[in-house]
């Protein structure tokens, strides 16, 4: 840049010249001020010298006056300034000598004064004080005075010289000050002049071009882009002008571009506005959607709350399985949904009349409510019948119920039927203490909860019914006499108490102990082990076939009937097998006895019949003589009578079995002739036995049926003979005492074992050995005899010792002879 040297170089040269001029002026001024300061210092030095000389002179006078005062007065007070002066005066003179060391003349004078002073002290003043102290002769005062004066003259000379020196120095100082002022004024004036000249130059060569540029810039700023600056010279300002012009050109170009961009921007703005409108529209739509979403969210929250309520209700229902618990849970949930404070729940009792039972209350005393509800009982009945919720509003005073421990006004009643399928399984009656109808949402919620409750209550009712049925089944099973078992692959799944008892009786072990046993293990228990095993095999081979078996336990002789059949479920699937076990020992024994009886009866009937048939045939075949014929006919007659009596015995017993009581034709009678007649009949029947009859003299009178009493006597006598197979004496005696009449028949026969004695009067009972010994008889005689005696309000009994015979007796109420019973 060639132009740079121009303006800048000129400025530097001008500045440098100005600095040199000002520096020279200030240098001259500083020199002048230095000279002035030296002069002033020298003047001040002279004054210090004078002051020091004065202090030394004064101390010299203190020496003189102190010593002379002491000499005159001998007063020690005068010695104080003396001592002070004596010690400080040498230092004072030494200081003075140091001050004037630069001035040889004055220094020499100080040396003289110091020497004179030392001499004065040593030669006069000190000896004077010592003399006074020692009271010696005093030196002459004039000597001292003289010496002091000499010294004071020296001081005066020194002071005068120094005074002159000081005056001279003060004058030199004043001149120096005046010179310094003059130099300062000249420098100031020259400096101002130079600065003014510099400023003028700057204004001409820099400010004017800058102003032009500024004016052009103002025009530019105002928007006139055509503003340009004249370019003069080649210095920095010219460059500035060129730069400005270039900038203006650039600006002009830029604005043209901006104009085109602006146009483009306007088009874009229009487009943007269009888009903004579209955005606003979209925004509106979004807002609408958001509102809708908020609505949906609110509904969802509401629905969630309802679902939570449902879930809580369902959970509670699941936990409370029993009807009363479910009823309480249901009432709480429904009351909450309905905002009710009191309530009652009735559930279908499953009865034919369709009545509902009170199963739960909320805030109410159950005793204050009807325990049952008919189909048409009031509003709840209507709710059940119509399967619709029935609501009723009350004035505050209309309906008051005892709840929460006091009387409360119910303002609204709601009777919500619990409908399951087509059936109302219950009704929840709810009472609200707040007035006004329920809002529709709560009503809807209540409806949903009621549906759930209906299912739950229905389930609980079904469960209750099933439990009741189960209880009944169990009770039935427990109440039967037969042992009932159900078995499947898992073993015994059901066994009623008799089953346990009978198992123990049959197998000798409990069911649990028996379960692991194999058929072969238990077969040995039975009289017919083979039959048991083949039955087990058959059952295994044909599991679908029912089976009947009879099992006789070898050890005890007890007989059991076993019925076993497959158990099938509703779908026909096999669930297992039922086994019914019944003890039939008594039945088998009864059957055996019956068979024996039939054989006996047959035998007993055939024996007289044989005579009848045989003799009548002989009569028919041979047509014998009259005597023979008569004898035959008598035999036939007697045997026919015996046959008739036997038949009567059977019939009597049959009648007893049917009616329980024998018909009697009672009349007053004496037992003695009855006894004698029968004894005679039986005595004739057996040659091996003799009958010894001992009757009292007085009559044995009673009210009785003679044919029946004859039957008893015949039976006792017949037994006595039959059971005394070896013959002997049969004793018959009669008595009357203590209001009874009695007869006893004593035999020397087989007797009855003690163990058998209680059974003697049982029907069809026959003494052991009777059959083996071929002792005839039906086993009915004693049973019938007892019936007859007891029908007469009498009693019958016996004493017997096995192998020694028996004594059978009976007693009847006595009637005094000739008197009334």
């Amino acid at each position: 840049m060639s132009g740079r040297g121009g303006l800048t170089a000129r400025m530097v040269l001008l500045g440098a010249a100005l600095a040199v001029v000002v520096g020279l002026a200030i240098g001259a001024m500083l020199l002048t001020i230095g000279a002035m300061r030296h002069a002033a210092r020298m003047a001040r030095h002279s004054e210090q010298v004078l002051a020091s000389a004065n202090r030394a002179e004064k101390q010299l006078l203190d020496l003189e006056t102190g010593a002379r005062g002491y000499a005159l007065t001998r007063d020690a007070r005068f010695l104080a300034p003396w001592r002070t002066a004596r010690s400080t005066l040498p230092r004072q003179t030494e200081g003075l000598a140091a001050l004037v060391a630069d001035n040889p003349a004055q220094a020499a004078l100080v040396q003289q004064i110091a020497a004179g002073t030392g001499a004065y002290l040593d030669d006069y003043s000190t000896p004077l004080v010592d003399a006074v102290r020692e009271r010696r002769a005093l030196p002459s005062p004039t000597v001292g005075k003289r010496r002091i004066d000499a010294l004071r003259a020296q001081f005066a000379r020194f002071d005068a010289t120094e005074q002159r020196l000081a005056d001279r120095r003060r004058t030199a100082s004043d001149h120096a000050a005046a010179r310094a002022i003059a130099v300062g004024v000249v420098v100031l004036v020259a400096g101002v002049a130079l600065l003014l000249a510099f400023a003028a130059y700057l204004g001409r060569s820099v400010a004017a071009p800058v102003r032009r540029v500024a004016a052009a810039a103002d025009r530019l700023a105002a928007g006139d882009l055509s503003a340009r600056v004249d370019v003069r010279g080649r210095d920095e300002l010219a460059r500035l002008a060129r730069s400005f012009n270039a900038m203006a050109d650039a600006l002009q170009q830029g604005r043209d571009e901006l104009d085109s961009q602006h146009h483009e921007l306007e088009i874009q703005t229009a487009e943007l506005e269009d888009q903004q409108q579209q955005l606003a529209d979209a925004n509106d739509e979004l807002r609408a959607q958001r509102d809708e979403l908020e609505h949906i969210t609110a509904s969802l929250a509401d629905e969630t709350e309802r679902q939570r309520l449902f879930a809580g209700f369902a959970d509670a229902l699941a936990i409370d399985a029993a009807l009363p618990d479910r009823a309480a849970t249901t009432l709480r949930a429904l009351a909450r949904a309905a905002g009710a404070q009191v309530g009652a729940l009735y559930a279908a009792g499953g009865r034919a009349d369709g009545r509902h039972d009170l199963v739960g209350t909320l805030g109410l005393d159950p005793a204050s409510l009807p325990p049952r509800l008919g189909r048409d009982d009031g509003l709840p009945g209507r709710a059940i019948a119509e399967r619709e919720t029935v609501a009723a509003a009350h004035d505050e005073t209309t309906l008051r119920v005892a709840a929460f421990g006091r009387e409360t006004a119910v303002r609204q009643e709601l009777h919500v039927p619990l409908v399951y399928g087509e059936r109302a399984v219950g009704v929840a009656s709810l009472g609200r203490t707040a007035p006004g109808a329920l809002d529709p949402r709560s009503r809807e919620l209540l409806g949903h909860l009621a549906e759930m409750a209906a299912i739950s209550i229905s389930n609980a009712l079904a469960t209750t019914r099933a439990q009741r049925l189960g209880d009944i089944n169990r009770a039935v099973l427990d109440s039967v006499r037969d042992g009932i078992l159900m078995t499947n692959e898992d073993g015994v799944v059901l066994a009623n108490p008799p089953a346990h008892r009978l198992t123990k009786a049959i197998l000798g072990v409990t069911i649990d102990e028996a379960e692991p046993l194999e058929p072969t293990d238990v077969a040995a228990r039975f009289a017919d082990a083979e039959a048991f095993l083949s039955a087990a095999d058959a059952m295994a081979a044909n599991p679908d076939e029912p089976r009947f078996d009879e099992l006789e336990v070898a050890e005890s002789g007890r007989v059991f009937e076993r019925y076993s059949a497959p158990v099938r479920g509703a779908g026909g699937e096999r669930l297992g097998r039922t086994t019914v076990i019944r003890e039939i020992t008594a039945e088998r024994e009864a059957e055996r006895l019956k068979n024996e009886l039939m054989a006996t009866v047959s035998h007993e009937l055939r024996t007289p019949l044989a005579s009848i048939v045989g003799f009548t045939e002989l009569l028919l075949l041979r047509d014998p003589e009259r005597e023979v014929r008569r004898s035959h006919l008598e035999t036939v007659h007697a045997e026919a009578r015996r046959l008739a009596e036997l038949i009567d015995d059977f019939l009597d017993l049959q009648r007893l079995a049917e009616r329980g009581r024998l018909p009697l034709e009672r009349r007053r009678l004496d037992l003695r002739p009855l006894v004698s007649d029968q004894a005679r009949v039986f005595a004739a029947q057996s040659g091996a036995h003799t009958l010894a009859v001992r009757m009292p003299a007085e009559a044995l009178v009673t009210e009785g049926d003679p044919s029946r009493i004859r039957q008893v006597l015949a039976n006792l006598l017949s037994n006595a003979i039959k059971y005394s197979p070896d013959g002997g004496e049969i004793g018959v005696e009669g008595w009357a005492r203590n209001g009874v009449v009695g007869v006893a028949v004593k035999d020397p026969g087989l007797g009855i074992p003690t163990a058998q004695q209680p059974r003697v009067f049982e029907r069809f009972y026959r003494a052991p050995g009777a059959k083996e010994r071929a002792i005839g008889g039906t086993g009915l005689g004693l049973a019938l005899s007892r019936e007859i005696v007891e029908a007469h309000d009498g009693r019958i009994g016996f004493e017997s010792v096995e192998g020694q015979g028996s004594r059978f007796w009976f007693e009847l109420p006595s009637t005094a002879p000739g008197g009334q019973p």
Binding site: S602, H603, L605, A610, G614, F615, E617, A688, R773, A774
Partner: protein, 125 residues
């Protein structure tokens, strides 16, 4: 003459059998009980014995068995004459050695036919 023993505790029965057999030529012996029947049979060695079952002392089948145990009675024919009519009674009697079995009541003709079967037709002549 064939010997016939009638053992029955019922006098009427003994009489009936005796009367029935009177038409033939028999020596007839009677016994009212089992002991007597054995005693008479052992002594007389009858050709034919009618035994009632139900008798005091030893029963008919016991007597029958006892008779069969005695080889002296090997030719003896024994007929049970009893009111017991069960099939098992017949079996028991057969096992005990009875040759025949007649149940009461019986017809005298039936009895005679049985005697003829057992002893041969000449016995009745």
């Amino acid at each position: 003459m064939a010997k016939v023993l009638i053992a029955d505790d019922q006098a009427n029965m003994r009489k009936l059998v005796r009367l029935t057999l009177e038409s033939g030529r028999f020596d007839i012996f009677e016994a009212p009980d089992g002991e007597t029947a054995l005693e008479v049979a052992t002594r007389e060695r009858p050709d034919l014995v009618f035994l009632d079952w139900t008798m005091p002392g030893r029963s008919g089948v016991e007597v029958c068995r006892a008779l069969r145990e005695d080889h002296g009675n090997d030719g003896m024919r024994i007929v049970m004459l009893t009111a017991r009519s069960q099939p098992e009674d017949r079996e028991t009697a057969h096992e005990m050695g009875a040759d025949d079995y007649i149940t009461k009541p019986f017809s005298p003709i039936q009895l005679l036919e049985k005697v003829r079967d057992v002893l041969g037709p000449e016995a009745l002549l």
